[in-house]
Every structure is written in structure tokens, then in C-alpha cells.
Subunit: 479 residues, 2 copies
């Protein structure tokens, strides 16, 4: 049922009322995040059953995704307890400076209620209680989630469980809310109460919401993850040394989750004449596809293949196993000169089990094509120690948020060091949406000048500094 | 002379070519920043002479501003040497994790060429070689500055000196460039090479550029500082204890620099019936004004007074000394109920030596008016220890990036802990434009997965980690 304007007003007002309470105590926030994680774990079997019915992603994958999601909530609980995210900075007064300096104490604090738009392809980890929600709550902000139409029942049940867990743990009413319907989502991102938005989805949908967020009388930051072709470069030496392994690794990665990961390797630069295409054909032949997430995605997959094949340079070179229902894996090939000339046709992201091999004959051709590759979440380089890769690497790191030198880009560890983001259109921002620093998106700095101790936020008081990493007069101090 | 499209193309191409060199070495960047600072200091007398002729700000103030500007360049040199700004984070591989974790090493790196729009009111500190330029260069990015039309000759001479200093110190061609003219500025923020923009100026001018930056095919972050009324709240107890001091402090702050600071206290909430208005009238009476920065600002000042007086609640309560040339200080008064009812009229920023006293009779009236105050760079609370200020303080800190408990908001120390930014329309972003962390605006994260040591950026190699603050497996490590 689409959320009505009156319902949205009520939810927004409740979120606004909850915001000062969420900003107050890191210990409470950590407890509340863990309460949500524990309750989702306790209801995992029920949730996975609903999710599998709605998304057809399979119980093994979905069970793993629940664990990833609750692990994420617990990571952010530990991030707020650790305290570095506050970026506490103290400069003592200096009467001898010209002009004399007052005392300044600075920290980051919650920006206010956050809108989260959930994704179709991660019904748990990038949905109602996913990474955007976890990081926004951890930062001290109530969250209003727009449910994805691909898994409405799961969204409602997840929200019920999370809201009940928050209530039982003592969090204020209005801490988390769910809305449904495109119109309600548009109204949400324009609502005066909302101070930032997180989004994972398509370039067209994300761009429309970004424009609404930027077009407000008071623009708000919009953190969107919008699409990525995730280039891979193989050197001739790497193919010679381990071509069969690379072929089976590539096939495993681009068919994982029926090719519906944002980090799927979508375009692979391969040296011509090395036999790598045959190795890929052999590796993909026995691999079946499967049903895609939604009817829209199911319909878009053959359209995407047709669009690539509309270029005269492109051909199908291999298929996966016959797939009775859904999308069958497919490998296409083109050449580097065509990619450099027509990137808007050949480097369009196609959601589903498809990858495009791009043959290159020398470095010059490779680099010209790489210059046409748009911003991506990841870039992968498979080379040997003997390869000279300086310029190739520089082109790749200019275009991606994560650069891999082994393995494949699917699989995004939730850690302190993770970076899931990249130049446009990969994301709209200079931040990550996965990993500990995702919290920075939903914080703003405030400095206190010459404040009496009892009027400072608790983390800035002398009694708290001893327990929290901070910088004092330019020097880092550990607890 | 307005920059032509062909000239802009040439400058942008040079900036793009210089970008990889700027990203390479923090030690080089620190050296280059100090070379610019030294050369500006060596030319200070010449520059101040030009600046005084163009801005009429006076040689004392302008000489101080040169020192502030070169101090800023040197602060950023020390920030890049210290290394925390890289936010280096390493997670070692963990084969025992489910799924097994690769090694990840993350750092922040320069985003690419940056556009800087200079301000009229700080011809050095927020202009060609000002804070935006210093922080963008420190982050590892070439800069193209749009000169302010209020001080064209100074802009050209400053750019010449800075560019020559960079060249002599070995920085690549294209490191810094100057453009002139509104059309060229608009083209700059839309130019494909430009990856971020910094701006200090008016709400209307900033909004227009923000819309251009956000409307690009590939939107870029726009860091604008657009306007601020800088609310001040005085409690009855504070006025009783030190009313005369508060009055003279306020007058000193709102007339400083002829009222042309972005942190000028523009609206002051005063308890009714305390005699504070008489104290302000006495304090302002002998204070002259002076010439304003530009003809546009000179013309807008009386318009701003008229607009405030168009509200039936508003009256002039005091003037400064007769001022033969330029703007004479003026104090207006209204009441809190009027402000709460008509904030769009009464809380419009007026550039120049004007402040608006807002009489309140009780806390309820005060809080209703504070809820109507837009986002500001600063908020100031003068209270006594006996005052209960919880809710007042909460309303102020929701609206400002810096909260003061003593002194006045003009005067922004350039330190690690400074925060110069606030909710819209104070700024467009969750970052500061003054102080060490201003560098974060021009950096983006990149993570390296399973990289061989020799292919990692130098700061991420094992040999560098020993010298740089970083986080390893979740724990902060100091050198």
C-alpha cells in the first residue's frame, strides 16, 4: 500500500522528535543497534523464507546475507563505541597567539533524520536494516526507509522486527519507519525534516532522486550508488601464466547471484590471440543462470544484450548452460578500438549474467579504451611481476574506488578499510557506502568555543577525552 | 579581461596534465605550499598597496590578512606532512573469516582539478591563494581560480607571484591558473576536467553555481559558503552582570571590517526591559563606518535597511558616528513574535555595519523565534552559570557549525579544530572551509585489495606505515 502524504507527515514528525534523543548517547546507540541485530538473527528463518519467495535468490545466499546484515549492525555498534568517528579535536586557548586564540573543541554529530532507499539486489544488506540504515542510526539519526517494490512483504516484516526491537531496547518512537510507493519516496527526499539521503539502485532512478535532493530550497546531500561496469584488465603474461584459473574466476564472478551484483565484472580487457576466449567459453559452458530479481530486470536483460549487439564490432562468443527459467549466462566480445570510439553503447551497464570481453593488441589501444571507461566501484588488474603496469594502473585508480590485484570484485568485505564508491556514475559522493567510514556521510561538524564543561556535549568534556581517540593542539592522543 | 573559452580549454588541459604529479608526493606538496607562502610574504607590501586601492579595507587589516593567508598555506603544509588526513586504514588478510578476507589498504587521494571562486571580503584569505586554494593544493589537486571582480589587479598579481613561486619550486605547469569573468566562471564549474568546486559569496551567486555543478551529466561536489545571520542570545542574567561589556563587544564585532564578515552577528536576541538597547546606543555612537567593498555592496546596504524597516515591527534605535564616505553603523530593533512570524523578511542577511536586536519577554517566545533562524556559520550564547540554557543551546547547536560561549563570532582562528560551515544556507556541505579538515573536501577514498607492495601508493607501503598515523585491523597506531 503506497504511503499517503498524511502518513508521511506523521512519520517525519516522529523522526524529527526522535532526532535529539538519537544524538545523545553513543552507548545507547550501540545497544539499540545490537538489539536490532539480535532480533533479526532470531527471526532469520522466517525472514529468509519471505525473501526467497519474493526475490528467488535462494536460501543459502539469503541466510548468508542476514548474517552480513546483522554483522554490519554490530560493526557500527563497535565503531561508535571506539569513538574515532567523532573526530574529536581540541585546541587549548592561547593568549600569546596573534590574535589571541579561544579554546575550541570540535566533534561530529548526527545530521538529522535520514532517508534510505533500499535496493532490489540485496533485500537485507542494502535494504530496510542494511548498511545505509545502520550507518545513519550509528551516526545518531532516525531513519525513514523507502521499501523496494521487489520485496514489499520482506520490507514490512523486517521493519516490524527492527522497530519492535528498538522499542523494547528503549529507543524513542520514530527511530525507524517504512514507507512504500514511488510518490512517497519522492516526497520523502523533498521533506524539510530529512537532512540526507542514501540510495542504492539504477542510474536513472538515482539521478531523479539526486535532482530532487539538489533542487530543494535547502539542498541536502544525496549519497547514491548508481551503477558500475567494474573494468578488469588481464595482461598477456597473466593469461599465459594462469589463463584457465582467470577464466574460471571470471565466470564465477560474473555469474554470481545471476550477475546481479553492483561489483560484477562487466567489461574485461583481454590481450588478443592468447586463447583466453576459448578458456572462458569452456568455463561458462556448464554454468546455468537462473531467475532474475524482478520482472523489470528480467525484461531489461535481453534488451541490454541487444543494445550491445547493435554495435557492428560485437559478437556472442559463449553461453552458459541452458537455463529453463530466467537469464542464461552469456559472454560477448568486441575490440578496444570500438570501445574507445563508442563507449556510450559498449560500456552501458547490463544487470544480469553477462560480461563483455574487449580484445586489445597493444598498450596504446588498451589505454585509449580505458580512458573511455566511466567511474566504477572497482577496477581489477591481473598482471605478473614482470609486467610494466604503471600507466594502466594509474588509469584504473583514477576510475575506481577499489583496485584489486588478485581475485574478483564481487564480494565486498564489511571492514574498517572497505571502500564501496567511486567517481560518477559509480556514486555521487566522495564517501563509501560499505565499511566503517560509511558513518561519515551522516555526520556534520560542530565546534564549541570557550564552552563551560557542563554545557559541552559529553564526548568533548575533559572526563571523556581520556577514553576517546582525539587530537589536542595538533597531536593525536590515544586512550 | 574576461577569459575566453579557448583560454579556459588550455588552462583546464594544463590542470588535468598536472593532476597526477600533484597526487604523487606529500613532501613536494608541502614544499610547494611553503614556497607560495614565502613569496607572498616577500611581496606583502606591494600586494597590500594594490589591495587597499581596490578594496579600501585599510593597510593594517590587509597586512594582517596576508599573514593569515601565508599562515594558512603553511598550516596545510604541516597537515600533509603529519599524514592523518590520508585516513590510512589497513585490514590484513584473514583466511579464517567467512568468507575469507583479502588484504585491504585504504587512503584518501586528490579528487582532481578544483575550481575556486574567490570572495570580495577577503581579498587574500578567501581569494586566489586563500583557504580553498591551499586546501585543494594540499589535497593534491591543481586549482583554477575565478577572480573576484572587486579586486582584479590584486588577483592577477597574486596569481603571478604564486605561479612563479610554484614554477621555481619545481611544481608542474598548470598547477594554478586564474580566470576572469562570470561566463568563464560558469563554464569552469561545468568543465569536464573540474572535479570539485569551492565558493565563498552570496546566496544567489552560490546557488546559481551549485545548480550548475549539480546539473552536470557527472555532478561534482560544490562546497559553497553562502550567507549567515549568526544569531546571538543574551540572557537577562548576563545583561545584568555585564551589560556594558556585552554592548561594546557586540558593537565592536558587528562594525568590524565595516560589517562585511560572514560571521558578523546579524541578529541578537535580548531580554526586554533590561536597558541593553541604551547600552548599545551609547557604545555605537562614537563608532564610524567606512567605505564598503564594491559599488554593488554599497548600493545594497541601504536597500537591506529599507527591507527590514518595511516590517511594521522594526525601528532604528541607534546610529554610529557620521560617516562621510560609505556606510554608517546602524542598530535596528524588533520583537521575537515578529521574527517567528516573518523570518523571511526579518532574518535576511544584510552585508554591512548593521545588527538587529530582537526583544524577547520569555523563553517560550525566544525559542519560537530561534526555531525560525536559518542555518548559520556561528551561534553565540552569553549566559551566567545560574541560567538554565539546555533548550536554548540545543536550538542553537542545531543551527550552527560553531557555538560560542564567550566573545563574538568575528575572528575565525585557523586551527585543527576550527569549524567554518553550518546547515544551509550557511554552507552546502557537511565540511568546514577554514581549518585543517577543510582538506577533506578535495579528497576521495581508494582501497587497494591484495596489492603487491611496489604497486601500492607510497603512503600505503609497509615502509611508510611506520611514519604515519593509521588504523590496522581496527586499532589506531601512532608513529
Amino acid at each position: 500500500m503506497p504511503t499517503t502524504p498524511a502518513q508521511l507527515e506523521e512519520l517525519a514528525a516522529a523522526a524529527a522528535a526522535a532526532a535529539p534523543v538519537w544524538r545523545l548517547s553513543a552507548a545507547d546507540r550501540a545497544r539499540w543497534l545490537r538489539a536490532v541485530a539480535d532480533s533479526l538473527d532470531a527471526h532469520a528463518a522466517e525472514l529468509v523464507e519471505i525473501a526467497d519467495r519474493e526475490t528467488r535468490l535462494g536460501t543459502a545466499r539469503l541466510t548468508g546475507e542476514v548474517a552480513r546484515t546483522t554483522g554490519q549492525l554490530r560493526l557500527f555498534a563497535s565503531v561508535v563505541e571506539e569513538g574515532s568517528y567523532l573526530e574529536i579535536t581540541v585546541d587549548d586557548a592561547d593568549a600569546a597567539a596573534t590574535p589571541p586564540r579561544p579554546e575550541l573543541r570540535r566533534l561530529l554529530t548526527g545530521v538529522g533524520p535520514v532517508a534510505v532507499f533500499s535496493a532490489s539486489n540485496f533485500p537485507f544488506a542494502f535494504s530496510v536494516a542494511g548498511g545505509d540504515t545502520a550507518s545513519a542510526l550509528a551516526a545518531g539519526n532516525p531513519v525513514v526507509v523507502k521499501a523496494h517494490s521487489g520485496h514489499p512483504e520482506l520490507s514490512r516484516r523486517t521493519a516490524e522486527i527492527a522497530i519492535e526491537a528498538l522499542r523494547a531496547a528503549g529507543a524513542p518512537e520514530g527511530s525507524l519507519a517504512l514507507i512504500e510507493g514511488r510518490e512517497a519516496g519522492n516526497a520523502l527526499v523533498r521533506h524539510p525534516v530529512i537532512r540526507a539521503a542514501g540510495f542504492t539502485g539504477s542510474l536513472s532512478g538515482g539521478r531523479a532522486l539526486f535532482d530532487l535532493a539538489s533542487g530543494r530550497v535547502d539542498p541536502i546531500p544525496f549519497y547514491g550508488e548508481l551503477g558500475s561496469v567494474n573494468p578488469v584488465v588481464l595482461t598477456a603474461a597473466a593469461v599465459e601464466a594462469r589463463g584457465a584459473d582467470l577464466a574460471s574466476g571470471l565466470v564465477g564472478s560474473f555469474t554470481l547471484g545471476v550477475g546481479q551484483f553492483c561489483t560484477k565484472p562487466g567489461v574485461v580487457f583481454v590481450p588478443g590471440g592468447t586463447g583466453f576466449e576459448d578458456a572462458v567459453a569452456a568455463a561458462v559452458a556448464p554454468v546455468p543462470g537462473g531467475p532474475l530479481l524482478t520482472d523489470r530486470i528480467t525484461g531489461a536483460f535481453p534488451d541490454g544484450i541487444r543494445a550491445l549487439l547493435s554495435d557492428p564490432s560485437t559478437e556472442v562468443i559463449a553461453h552458459g548452460a541452458e537455463t529453463p527459467e530466467g537469464a542464461r549466462p552469456v559472454v560477448l566480445a568486441t575490440d578496444a578500438a570500438a570501445v574507445a570510439a563508442r563507449p556510450e553503447t559498449l560500456l552501458e551497464e547490463v544487470f544480469g549474467p553477462l560480461t563483455l570481453l574487449v580484445r586489445y593488441s597493444d598498450e596504446e589501444e588498451l589505454h585509449a579504451a580505458l580512458r573511455a571507461v566511466p567511474g566504477s566501484l572497482t577496477a581489477t588488474l591481473h598482471a605478473e611481476a614482470s609486467d610494466e603496469v604503471g600507466e594502466t594502473l594509474d588509469l584504473l585508480q583514477q576510475r575506481a574506488g577499489r583496485v584489486l590485484f588478485a581475485g574478483w570484485p564481487t564480494g565486498v568485505a564489511v571492514t574498517w578499510s572497505q571502500q564501496h564508491g567511486g567517481p560518477w556514475p559509480a556514486t555521487t559522493s566522495l564517501h563509501t557506502s560499505v565499511g566503517a567510514t560509511a558513518i561519515r556521510r551522516f555526520l556534520r561538524p560542530v565546534a564549541y568555543q570557550d564552552a563551560p564543561q557542563h554545557l559541552l556535549p559529553v564526548p568533548l568534556r575533559d572526563t571523556s577525552l581520556a577514553h576517546t581517540p582525539h587530537r589536542r593542539n595538533g597531536k593525536l592522543v590515544l586512550p
